[in-house]
Symmetry: C2
DNA sequence: GAGCGAATTTAGCCATGACTAAATCCAATG
DNA sequence: CATTGGATTTAGTCATGGCTAAATTCGCTC
């Protein structure tokens, strides 16, 4: 069994590798920042993970998960996303509260527990914030969503996924009706990285900062 | 926050102190055996817990939880028993499977999670094996049950609580209908610590070993 | 009251995963 | 191509919670 710390590093590295460009290596400092530890601590753990053959480490360059490492990471991601959804659906959590709880539970549940909540949820493929849920076999769907922040004036789209990193942002989005499935139209893009004026659903309008819009992933509505 | 190890020691010491005679101290070797560690490791932890004012340690004699220690122990016990019940009621676990899962989850859930499953279960006062569930304030009911093993021939009783220590025993009891609420009559006590011949419910009879009967707690039916 | 044996504690060690401070590397700049 | 500053690694330390082996204590028996 992998320790809780190892599991959390793998999960973070997996996510970082998918946030960066394909082929790019994940750097020590990125890992350290994400894990909230010093760079020296990150280096320590990287050496251990390399020893365990969970990643390849090119000193001074960065790391890349091995197939085994990816598999282990996806196992944790699956636990996390199933748990988030379960907390939301079965225990009435708000979507900004589920991440913290799942971050701890993901290491504590058994495979049996995983299977039971999977069944209770009807074998979902998408999580509480729209992220794909890896299958038990380690496959994960690739969604080609675009960032709301990158949409052009006049375009319409549906919100399909939202970053779960910041609870405050999630509450803010919730208050303004910016939830999964909501239709959004870009009315106006202010210059100098200014806010987007958007139509939310049928009759709401909002000026949304670019910072927030970068955390929202959308599917473009057929023109 | 107390570490997982500290929490588990407190829980074990609490249970051991209630299994022994009132006023008796809990010994190092008992703790070591229950925690599956060496006696030296137990001594180490005892010194740390004494330092934390969670118990009083009389060297070479034993330990006794302080009021704070009891409070902390009951907090974990509450988590454990609520979780066991929730796993059983909401996720369909068998009663021999819940203990292991709860042993890990009990350290990972938040107070919010605790409150939510408490509500979902209708604020139960009795756990999956009949144990009293401590209140959020740290009160716990005292049940004056007797061991089935100590009943006399001819006496009738209801099964009210069962030890959750041994999953195999729980499966065995389940197979023979020896579950919570079942009425049992002692037909015959074999000599030399031999088995009890008992009537289970209306029309079942069984020869139950004393070892098993010692793990079953009953309420005597009015004669 | 001496001695014995079991329980307990002490001493010393190890793995894990943090940290700070110092050394080292490397890419960019002049 | 030498310099330099930021990123990375190394070195050394600490806390936690295990372990074994050795020393110590205590209750019991002779
Ligand atoms: Mn985590
Ligand atoms: Mn799993
Ligand atoms: Mn536990
Ligand atoms: Mn609690």
């Amino acid at each position: 069994m992998l320790s809780e710390a190892v599991q959390d590093y793998l999960k973070s590295i997996y996510k970082l590798s998918h946030a960066s460009q394909a082929g790019e290596m994940v750097t020590t400092s990125l890992i350290a920042e994400r894990m909230q530890v010093s760079a020296a601590s990150a280096t320590n753990m990287i050496k251990k993970l390399a020893e365990l053959r969970l990643l390849d480490h090119t000193p001074y360059q960065g790391v890349e998960l091995t197939p085994t490492g990816v598999k282990m990471a996806l196992e944790i991601v699956r636990h996390h996303r199933l748990l988030e959804l379960y907390l939301r659906q079965s225990l009435g959590y708000d979507w900004d509260q589920v991440d913290a709880e799942a971050d701890r539970l993901e290491h504590a549940i058994s495979e049996d527990f995983e299977d039971r909540i999977d069944r209770a949820l009807g074998f979902p493929t998408v999580g509480a914030h729209g992220e794909p849920i890896p299958s038990k076999e380690g496959d994960i769907a690739v969604h080609n969503y675009r960032r709301l922040a990158d949409m052009a004036e006049g375009e319409r789209c549906w919100i399909r996924q939202v970053s779960d990193r910041d609870p405050a942002l999630l509450r803010y989005l919730d208050e303004h009706g910016l939830i999964l499935g909501t239709e959004v139209e870009i009315r106006e893009r202010a210059p100098f990285r200014g806010p987007l004026r958007i139509a939310i659903g049928v009759d709401r309008e909002h000026h949304l900062g670019l910072e927030a819009a970068e955390q929202i992933y959308v599917e473009i509505a057929a023109a």
